[in-house]
C-alpha cells in the first residue's frame, strides 16, 4: 500500500486538481512548514506545500540571484512554469530570506487570487512571542474570512486541530517502529509518508496511515538484517527521493531524519487550550526549530542527539542546500556534537539536481568506514 503515498507525492498536482474539482474548495500553496495549516484547513482550504521539481531550469534567472539557495529557486520555477496554475492562493510564514524572495517573486509574476505574508517571528524563545503570534494568527484568520466571505468557527478549528494532531500522532507511531533492529519500512517509504502528508487532505491521509500502521504492527518481522548500517539524515528540506534511494541501495537503512520535509514537520502536536489560535501558535513556536529560529539557545542540537540515540543511529548524513546560511552555520556544530557521541557524519551539498555518481562514491566510502573491521584482519 506504500505506492498510494508515493503516488500522492509524485502526482501531487493531479491530486490537488481533482480535490478542487471534487470539493469546489480552494487550494493554498504554502512556502514553509511554519505555516499554520490548521487555520486554512478549518476554512475548508487544502494547504499544499510548494516544493521544487528537481529539473534543470533557467526561468528564475531574471528574478533570483544565483547565490540564493537552489530550493527557493526551484520552488519559484514551479510557479513560473505554471505547474501550480491551479492554486487559488499562496502564503508564506516567514522563515528565511531566500524562500521569502521566491514567494515575493511569485506574487509579482504569477498572479493568484489571494496572497498572504505571515510575519512569523524569529525570536521563538522570547516570552512575548506567544501573544504576538496569536495576534498575527488572528489577523491571518480575519484575512482568510474576508477572502472567503465566511467565518471560521471554533468548532471548525477544533476539527482541524484534531485531524492534524491525528496525522502527527500516526506518523510518529509509524516512525517509532523504525527504532527496532528490523525497520519495517525503508527510509524512502518513510519519506513518501511525510512528504505526501504535506499535500494531501489530512483526513484522507489519516485513513491510509491507520491502515498502514495496523498492517505494520501485525506484520511478521521481515526486516533487513543486522548488517545494514543505520543512518540518520539531517538538514533543511530534502525531497530528493533519488538520493535516498541511492543511499539505501548501498546497504544502509535510513531510520530517522531531521528535515523540515520529514520529522520537523509533524513531530509535535497542538496542545488544546480555550483560545484555539493561542494553542496553534504555541505548537509552531515550540516545534523542533529550523536553525533560522534557533537562538540564542541551541535547541536543535540536543533534539538531534536524542533522535540519534533513540533510533540507534550509527552514522549521520548532513544535507545542506547550497547557500543555505542557517543550515551551513549549524553543520560544524552538529558534526562535532555527533562525534562526541561516537557518531561519524558526512556532509553533502545539495543543488536542484544532485550528481549521483560522485555522491555515490562518497556514500559508499562513508559506509565502508562505518562497517569498520569488515575489510580488515
Amino acid at each position: 500500500m506504500m505506492e498510494v503515498f508515493r503516488d500522492w507525492f509524485e502526482h501531487r498536482h493531479d491530486y490537488a486538481k481533482q480535490w478542487q474539482k471534487k470539493t469546489g474548495g480552494k487550494v493554498m500553496g504554502y512556502f514553509c512548514t511554519y505555516a499554520p495549516e490548521e487555520i486554512m484547513y478549518a476554512a475548508g482550504i487544502l494547504p499544499v506545500r510548494v516544493l521544487g521539481g528537481h529539473e534543470p531550469q533557467a526561468v528564475t534567472e531574471p528574478h533570483i540571484f544565483g547565490m540564493f539557495c537552489p530550493f527557493c529557486r526551484d520552488c519559484l520555477a514551479q510557479g513560473l512554469k505554471g505547474n501550480f496554475n491551479y492554486l487559488n492562493g499562496i502564503m508564506i510564514s516567514q522563515s528565511c530570506i531566500h524562500l521569502r524572495q521566491a514567494f515575493t517573486s511569485w506574487r509579482l509574476h504569477v498572479p493568484v487570487e489571494y496572497n498572504y505574508y505571515l510575519p512569523f517571528p524569529h525570536g521563538v524563545q522570547n516570552p512575548p512571542v506567544y501573544k504576538y503570534l496569536t495576534a498575527e494568527l488572528r489577523t491571518f484568520q480575519k484575512s482568510l474570512e474576508d477572502w472567503l466571505g465566511s467565518t471560521i468557527s471554533d468548532t471548525a478549528l477544533d476539527h482541524a486541530i484534531d485531524v492534524y494532531n491525528t496525522n502527527r500522532r500516526l506518523l510518529r507511531e509509524i516512525f517509532d517502529l523504525r527504532r527496532g533492529t528490523h525497520p519495517p519500512i525503508s527510509g524512502l517509504d518513510a519519506m513518501y509518508l511525510a512528504l505526501s502528508s504535506q499535500m494531501v487532505d489530512k483526513a484522507e491521509h489519516n485513513v491510509m496511515l491507520e491502515e498502514l500502521l495496523k498492517r505494520l504492527k501485525t506484520k511478521a518481522v521481515s526486516g533487513n538484517g543486522n548488517s545494514r548500517i543505520r543512518l540518520m539524515l539531517i538538514g533543511s528540506e530534502n525531497d530528493d527521493t533519488q538520493f535516498t534511494n541511492m543511499v539505501e541501495s548501498l546497504g544502509a537503512d535510513i531510520v530517522i531524519d531531521e528535515h523540515c520535509t520529514g520529522t520537523r514537520y509533524f513531530w509535535n502536536e497542538v496542545i488544546p487550550q480555550e483560545d484555539r489560535l493561542a494553542a496553534i501558535a504555541a505548537r509552531y513556536i515550540d516545534r523542533p526549530p529550523c536553525p533560522a529560529k534557533d537562538w540564542p539557545d541551541r535547541r536543535r542540537i540536543p533534539h538531534i542527539l536524542n533522535l540519534a540515540k533513540d533510533y540507534g543511529v550509527q552514522g549521520a548524513v548532513l544535507i545542506q542546500q547550497k547557500f543555505c546560511d542557517p543550515h551551513e552555520f549549524d553543520m560544524p556544530a552538529i558534526a562535532q556534537a555527533l562525534k562526541k557521541e561516537g557518531i561519524p557524519s558526512y556532509n553533502f551539498e545539495f543543488d536542484v539536481t544532485v550528481p549521483l555518481g560522485p555522491f555515490k562514491i562518497r556514500m559508499e566510502a562513508f559506509l565502508e568506514m562505518l562497517r569498520g573491521e569488515e575489510l580488515f584482519v
Partner: protein
C-alpha cells in the same frame, strides 16, 4: 603528429625475485580511474607486479589491458589470481573482479603499505578528483573529504597546462622552480579559468616557468584548503599521479609546514595496491570462514 606534452609514462613492473613463483596466494587490485588505470598483483600480501596506463574510453577494456600488462612477463594467467578487487571511478566495470571497494578505502590502505603504519593523513591527487583521508595504523579510513564540482588541483588540470605551455608533464615540477621570484598563484577554483589567466600572463610576456610556478602554487593551495578542512595529523603521505610532481608537492609541504613521506613504489599505483591488499584479506577470510 605534434608532440603530446600531457602524456605521462605508461609502464609495467615485475619483482626481479619472481616472488609469485613461491606464493601461496596471489591477489590483485585494478584501479580504473578517470584518467589512468593501474593493476597491481600481490604475492601473499607483497607487491610482485603492476602496470600503469591511460584509461581508454572503454573501462572494461582498460581494466583487462592493465591486468594483462601487469601479468605479461610473469608467466601468470588471470585464473591463478585467487581474488580481484575493482576500485576507482570505473570500479563497477572490472569484468573479472570479485567485488568492488571505493578508491578512498583503497588509497588509505595502499598508503599504509607504501608509507608504513605511521601514516595518518593521506592526500590522493588523482586524475579528476582529489581526496583528503585520515586513517589509523591499519590504513582504515576514519574521515575523508573530496573536492566537488571542480577539477582544479587534479592531474587533468596539470595535463592542460603541459599542453598549453608545450612542456612535457614530467618536467613541470623542476621547471616551476626555475624562477627569480615565486609569482602570485593563478585562479585556484577552475582549470579552464586558470588556463585563461595563464594565456593572459603569457601575452604579458611572463616566461613559461613563471606561469608553471603560478599554476603549481595555485594547485598546492587548493589541496591545502581541503586538508585544513579535514585536519592534518602526521605522518603525511601523498598518492596519485600528482604525488610525482615536485612543483605541487614541495609548495604544499611549505604551506602545511610538514614533509610528505617518500613512497616505496610509484605513488600512482596506491589505489590498485590497496585493492589488492583488501583482496588478500578477503580471500583469507573466505578461506577460513
Amino acid at each position: 603528429m605534434a608532440q603530446e606534452f600531457w602524456r605521462w609514462k605508461e609502464y609495467n613492473w615485475r619483482d626481479p625475485e619472481e616472488s609469485w613463483n613461491k606464493a601461496k596466494m596471489l591477489t590483485a587490485g585494478v584501479d580504473v580511474g578517470s584518467v589512468s588505470t593501474q593493476a597491481a598483483v600481490m604475492a601473499d600480501g607483497q607487491l610482485c607486479a603492476f602496470a600503469s596506463m591511460r584509461t581508454g574510453s572503454d573501462s572494461p577494456d582498460s581494466a583487462r589491458k592493465a591486468m594483462d600488462w601487469a601479468l605479461r612477463e610473469t608467466g601468470l594467467t588471470l585464473d591463478r589470481i585467487r581474488y580481484v578487487i575493482g576500485t576507482g571511478y570505473g570500479r563497477v566495470n572490472v569484468p573479472f573482479a570479485h567485488r568492488t571497494i571505493t578508491e578512498i578505502a583503497c588509497h588509505a590502505r595502499g598508503a599504509n603499505f607504501m608509507y608504513g603504519p605511521n601514516v595518518r593523513t593521506v592526500l590522493d591527487m588523482g586524475g579528476q578528483d582529489c581526496k583528503a583521508i585520515r586513517c589509523d595504523e591499519k590504513g582504515k579510513v576514519s574521515a575523508f573529504l573530496m573536492n566537488d564540482k571542480c577539477a582544479a588541483g587534479t592531474g587533468r588540470g596539470m595535463e592542460v597546462f603541459a599542453d598549453l605551455l608545450s612542456v612535457p608533464l614530467e618536467q613541470i615540477g623542476d621547471l616551476s622552480y626555475e624562477v627569480d621570484q615565486e609569482p602570485q598563484p593563478v585562479s585556484s577554483t577552475c582549470v579552464v579559468f586558470a588556463k585563461t589567466e595563464a594565456v593572459g600572463l603569457l601575452r604579458k610576456g611572463w616566461p613559461k616557468n613563471n606561469v608553471l610556478a603560478a599554476y603549481c602554487s595555485a594547485m598546492a593551495h587548493r589541496v591545502y584548503t581541503l586538508l585544513e578542512r579535514l585536519g592534518v595529523e602526521g605522518d603525511f603521505g601523498i598518492t596519485g599521479g600528482i604525488a610525482k610532481n615536485s612543483g605541487v608537492v614541495k609548495r604544499l609541504e611549505k604551506e602545511l609546514n610538514l614533509k610528505a613521506l617518500t613512497p616505496r613504489y610509484d605513488p600512482q599505483i596506491a589505489g590498485a595496491v590497496g585493492a589488492a591488499l583488501f583482496a588478500h584479506t578477503l580471500a583469507q577470510k573466505e578461506a577460513t570462514a
